[in-house]
């Protein structure tokens, strides 16, 4: 096949819940070859597993189906390809829903690809029997300690299965759990024919993927010098212009808001970083200390020099388990004496609960006074003596759902039985919600076989 000079890959969804306007504008406001979309957070897989246990057709990102319905004409007309991890725990169900949208709109001959094989939830006992420890990477605790409370388990697959689906002609590729940078690395492998041993190229693609994976966080969103960011309401989402040699430019569509410069890109490189010399992934390791950046015109940052090395023999597993319950509620306390009254309110709640036999140890309860230096606690420059109003935020957690719910019943009564000026109870009683615990682990790669399927819709 002929290789292109430049491939344009845009990321239109940085996380589950990101703006639906972003991908719509990316396909309408400038040239794009690939649109990538990230819908999965760690907690998402567990929620989707639960949805699927109630309904075998559920368990994927329904936002994605609504988005495709909205932008399908542009995708077809401009031949834009889509790579999304919208499959959650049910890529096949997601594919069926997308096929239905395509059929409804009367398009024929569109190829859909899915990547499966990341879901190891039903294979835990098989894997431990085979000698895989699956211990918690952070705490070294054995998986037996949470075995009967597990709610999901998925490995982070790499980019090569995505490239395979594209090689087979898929215009829309739907995956389950994979790495976020893999969504953009897959198209690069497909377009340029990069191989598993091309560590520096794969590392360059991984770095590019890391820069765009949180959407507008590299184009001026969540930026220290926020006053310098023009037209944030119309902020442009990021676009990679990748070349076959692994050098690339980060930019955004002309005429959009936001800013791309060395600082906005460096901000995102720092996001969720551990050791900058060893960014680990399933396809390679990347050395972030090798990255070179320079401004290459307005809202364009050129990146080169990226060095990489071989991947480890393991996939990372992200498992989740039921870890008790929590409830959190808020009330607004007006001045005068807002903070003093808020502290009295908190004391009243704990005393009333204790008088009814419900005591919550310090490790299972929290009080925050929002407006009086809570998120920056202990940092002198942030202290303010007498705020005009306070949001009192209280929460408890623990293994006993009834005890957590009992707390929720004692917050709202403060409105009539506490100090004056207590309001903002429209949300009603806070109720217990499940805490989803994370279980990061390692699994040797030979135990996992990614499976790629490509089908043609409406022939």
């Amino acid at each position: 096949m002929t290789r292109p000079n430049i491939v344009r890959i845009a990321n239109g969804q940085g996380f589950w819940g990101d703006s639906i306007l972003a991908p719509v504008r990316l396909v309408r406001e400038g040239p794009v070859d690939y649109l990538t979309l990230d819908y999965l957070a760690e907690v998402t897989m567990s929620i989707m597993q639960k949805l699927r246990s109630r309904n075998p057709n559920a368990g994927y990102a329904t936002d994605f189906v609504r988005l495709i319905d909205r932008i399908l004409p542009e995708l077809v007309e401009k031949k834009i390809k889509v790579v999304a991890n919208a499959g959650g725990v049910n890529p096949r169900g997601c594919m069926d829903a997308i096929a239905a949208v395509i059929a409804k709109r009367g398009y024929k001959g569109i190829k859909l690809g899915i990547v499966e094989g990341d879901d190891v939830f039903t294979r835990i006992d098989e894997l431990t029997t085979a000698g895989e420890k699956l211990s918690n990477m952070d705490t070294q605790a054995p998986i037996s300690s949470v075995r009967d409370r597990l709610t999901s388990a998925n490995v982070y697959l790499g980019a090569f299965p995505i490239a395979q689906a594209l090689d087979q002609g898929a215009q829309i590729v739907i995956t389950g759990r994979g790495t976020d940078p893999g969504l953009v690395l897959g198209p690069m492998i497909h377009e340029f024919g990069w191989k598993t041993g091309d560590h520096h190229l794969l590392a360059a693609g991984t770095v590019a993927g890391h820069i765009v994976e949180c959407g507008a966080q590299c184009t001026g969103g969540n930026f220290t010098d926020w006053r310098t960011i023009p037209d944030m309401a119309r902020i442009g989402y990021p676009l990679i212009e990748m070349k076959a040699d692994g050098t690339f430019v980060i930019t955004k569509h002309d005429g959009t808001g936001g800013l791309v410069n060395e600082s906005t890109v460096a901000h995102q490189l720092a996001y969720e970083m551990g050791d900058p010399k060893a960014y680990l992934g399933p396809d390679c390791t990347a050395d972030f200390t090798s990255i070179r950046m320079r401004q290459d015109g307005k809202d364009r940052v050129a990146v080169d020099g990226v060095r990489g090395g071989p991947a480890t023999p393991f996939y990372k597993v992200s498992a989740s388990y039921q870890d008790g319950f929590k409830a959190v509620g808020e009330l607004t306390i007006s001045g005068p004496d807002a903070l003093e009254k808020a502290k009295l309110c908190a004391e009243i709640v704990w005393k009333r609960l204790a008088s009814d036999g419900f005591e919550y140890p310090a490790s299972e309860r929290l009080v925050e006074y929002l407006g009086a230096n809570t998120v920056h606690a202990g940092i002198a420059a942030a202290d303010r003596a007498d705020p005009s109003e306070i949001v009192l935020r209280m929460g408890v957690k623990g293994p006993d759902e009834a005890k957590v719910n009992r707390f929720g019943m004692e917050l709202v009564p403060l409105v009539t039985s506490g100090p004056p000026g207590v309001t903002g109870f429209a949300g009603g009683r806070p109720k217990a919600t499940e805490i989803i615990g994370f279980w990061p682990a390692l699994l040797r790669k030979e135990f996992v076989t990614p499976k790629v399927t490509v089908v043609t819709v409406g022939t």
Binding site: D225, H267, L269, G437
Partner: protein, 112 residues
């Protein structure tokens, strides 16, 4: 020397890392980076953030990005969905570090 907030000579971004958070401090100039490598130690950040982070603090350097990356190992009240904190993901920890007051040579403040 002039006492200024760290934000005068650096930017920052933060986010969650398991039960902790990372704060990437990005120096605004090469001179500021050299100054911060010497003075913005892991211990200094640990003390500044001690009401938020009850764990250790580890520092990594990436001079090509003028970046000092700090890992705050227990700063999220349990992390993930187990946390009762408003900022369960450490989104505001970068700005918290930038509020640190530092004695800085005037030469670092003349530009930017």
């Amino acid at each position: 020397m002039t006492k200024v907030p760290l934000s005068r000579i650096a930017c920052a971004r933060s986010g969650d890392k398991g039960e902790g958070s990372n704060v990437g401090v990005l120096a605004r100039s090469d001179a500021a980076y050299a100054f911060l490598v010497e003075h913005l130690t892991a211990e200094r950040v640990r003390q500044h953030m001690s009401a938020i982070n009850v764990g250790a603090v580890k520092r990594y350097e990436a001079p090509n990005l003028r970046l000092l990356n700090f890992l705050l190992e227990d700063s999220l009240g349990g992390g993930g969905s187990a946390s009762l904190k408003t900022d369960a993901q450490g989104k505001t920890h970068g700005l918290a570090v930038l509020r640190m007051e530092l004695d800085v040579p005037e030469a670092l403040l003349t530009k930017g």
